[in-house]
Symmetry: C2
Subunit: 351 residues, 2 copies
């Protein structure tokens, strides 16, 4: 036991004396205040957050409101290409962008496990702040609760997002029409395989990183070029398969995809082959699927190719009035198979 030297103690106890999260950090008292003042405020600093009122009060906005929320319980907290923090920002920004909204504000709710190293929380919060800056959104309010050691898994984050849908923008999964083209913004499966590789200690030839990214910048360019986008969705849990089935069901249409046209990185394809996974079912965190009138598809594709997050965008299929509610893939060897929604998720706790 080290010698105790009360001379260097201060009161109230500063954050540095608690290198790990303790129950009191969620108690609404001095320890909570220290966490807010020394960790969250400096990282997220903005004028709406600063007054620390019960709610952030923000300027009026013009246009339809968009509101969304997602919980993030990914295991492990840190993985190649990101962590739970940037996932929580990018995922909610993307949900707003998919509805055609300009993302403006995020809230952040933290459920922390007693014993989480403060240094880990600091890294998570720093990455959230960086992701918010990159996406052009402000984290304007938050809450922290602490649960007993052994409960939780270090850090669960729930973000909610508020945005505004510009006049004239009207995208929705129920608007796909026979003849429309289906475009995906880039190679699929990277996020899920990145999580799996780190979780299971798998070593692939080259390191596969999560594709977590905010898509609102890409969407802005797409809408500027083609205001008549029909439907947009980011294929996260359940992958491309779940997303295409959702569009088919919501629009009461069939979908045909050309499986070899779906971009998949060689390393991801090799990992999927090895593990018996279907890349169409693996989660993505920085990709989108968009349905567009066929006549606009090439123009949209050219626009996407000019954006860093769309360089490998590809037309992967069409909407059809045959087989409503069914997604059918033409395989590389010329066969046809039904691509159905998974019952659950191939890889649990992926986001």
């Amino acid at each position: 036991m080290p010698d105790l030297n009360p001379d260097v103690w201060t009161c109230p106890l500063p954050l540095r004396d608690y290198p790990h999260i303790v129950m009191g950090h969620g108690g609404g008292g001095k320890l909570s205040t220290e966490l807010v003042e020394h960790l969250f405020l400096p990282a997220f600093r903005n004028s709406a957050l600063a007054p620390l009122g019960d709610a952030a009060v923000l300027p009026p906005v013009a246009g339809r409101l968009a509101v969304t929320t997602d919980c993030y319980v990914v295991r492990p907290l840190f993985f190649p290409g990101g962590c739970v923090g940037d996932l929580a920002v990018n995922g909610t920004v993307n949900d707003l962008a998919m509805s055609g909204a300009t993302p403006l504000y995020l809230s952040a709710g933290f459920i922390l496990e007693e014993g989480l190293p403060l240094a880990d929380l600091g890294r998570i919060v720093d990455r959230m702040a960086a992701a918010a800056r990159a996406a052009g959104v402000a984290i304007v309010c938050g809450d922290t609760k602490v649960v007993d050691r052994g409960h939780g898994d270090g850090c669960y984050i729930t973000t909610a997002g508020v945005g505004v849908v510009p006049d004239g923008v009207n995208v929705g999964v129920q608007q796909a029409k026979p003849g429309d083209a289906i475009v995906v913004s880039g190679p699929v499966g990277n996020h899920g395989i990145a999580i799996l590789s780190i979780r299971e200690g798998l070593e692939f030839e080259s390191r596969i990183a999560s594709d977590t990214a905010a898509l609102n910048g890409l969407v802005t360019e797409m809408l500027a070029a083609c205001p008549d986008l029909r439907a947009m969705r980011d294929p996260t849990r359940g992958g491309l398969a779940a997303t295409l089935n959702e569009i088919a069901a919501a629009s009461h249409v069939g979908i045909e995809i050309d499986e070899p046209a779906v971009p998949v990185d060689d390393e991801v394809r090799a990992a999927c082959d090895l593990l018996g996974l279907d890349p169409l079912l693996v989660a993505n965190e920085g990709k989108l699927v968009v349905v567009v009138p066929a006549g606009l598809a090439e123009k949209l594709l050219a626009t996407m190719h000019r954006h860093p997050l769309g360089t490998r965008a590809a037309i992967i299929g069409t909407i059809t009035d045959r087989h409503p509610n069914l997604v059918v893939a033409r395989t590389a060897i010329g066969g046809r198979r039904v691509v159905s929604t998974p019952l659950g998720e191939q890889l649990p706790r992926i986001c």
Copy 2:
């Protein structure tokens, strides 16, 4: 093992075949869809939620936006007077109301533990829906994640709230001025003692119930009668003590309270005496503290007394320019004591 009778099986498996939450309910596939379609949608039904887009798209609103969030990790999930579900609605509605906003929309993020009985989730969701109806807000979007058995504690809920601050309303914790009166809307300490009694299996003479309630109706009446309210806050975690200290610190003023004037139910006082707790530090979930110019205090009090949630409202103290940042209580025997912010929370996992 019962005889298997595949004749009565259906595909996909309906919700009733899974009486408990399984990992797949958080996987974004068919099981997730069943949970949404058979449980969340019927309970929360509203036109914004129904399209199940990535974000809810809502009509434009006029006025400043208010945004807030809170995580709810209360143990146990059900307690006298409420459950985690109504707490999650009322708490977030109240945070909006405390900033002078009219609450409009809520998001709801569920982190469920594998094995949670679906019947329990159903009860929680039903109470959320009832609380939302009572408060006049719509739950417009949500997300569900499932964590492995032994992690989580059945059900964590994070709600975010969006409201609009009417023109002319301008309340904030930094606006208290020397001479102002401090009013509390009713007896304090009931929520914390209700949780403690059920958690520890304590039996008091009469059952103490949580005060969880939405305060936005009361606040509307208060603002109509006295548009010049300075500051409002709901004394949740950390109780009245934390809230008064927050107001003192934010406004750089001192606070004097008359301790015998603070309403406390006899049963709550007896329980606090028995357990060595200070009622000023115990959490509330349906009370508010308001700072008002002294000349308006009696008018405000009369207004509050006419509302069901304010019948026992009382003036408990004044703002002073003596001892800035310090809250001082005059005790029943004529002494004075400093009421400081607790370091953590006397009772962890209270909300």
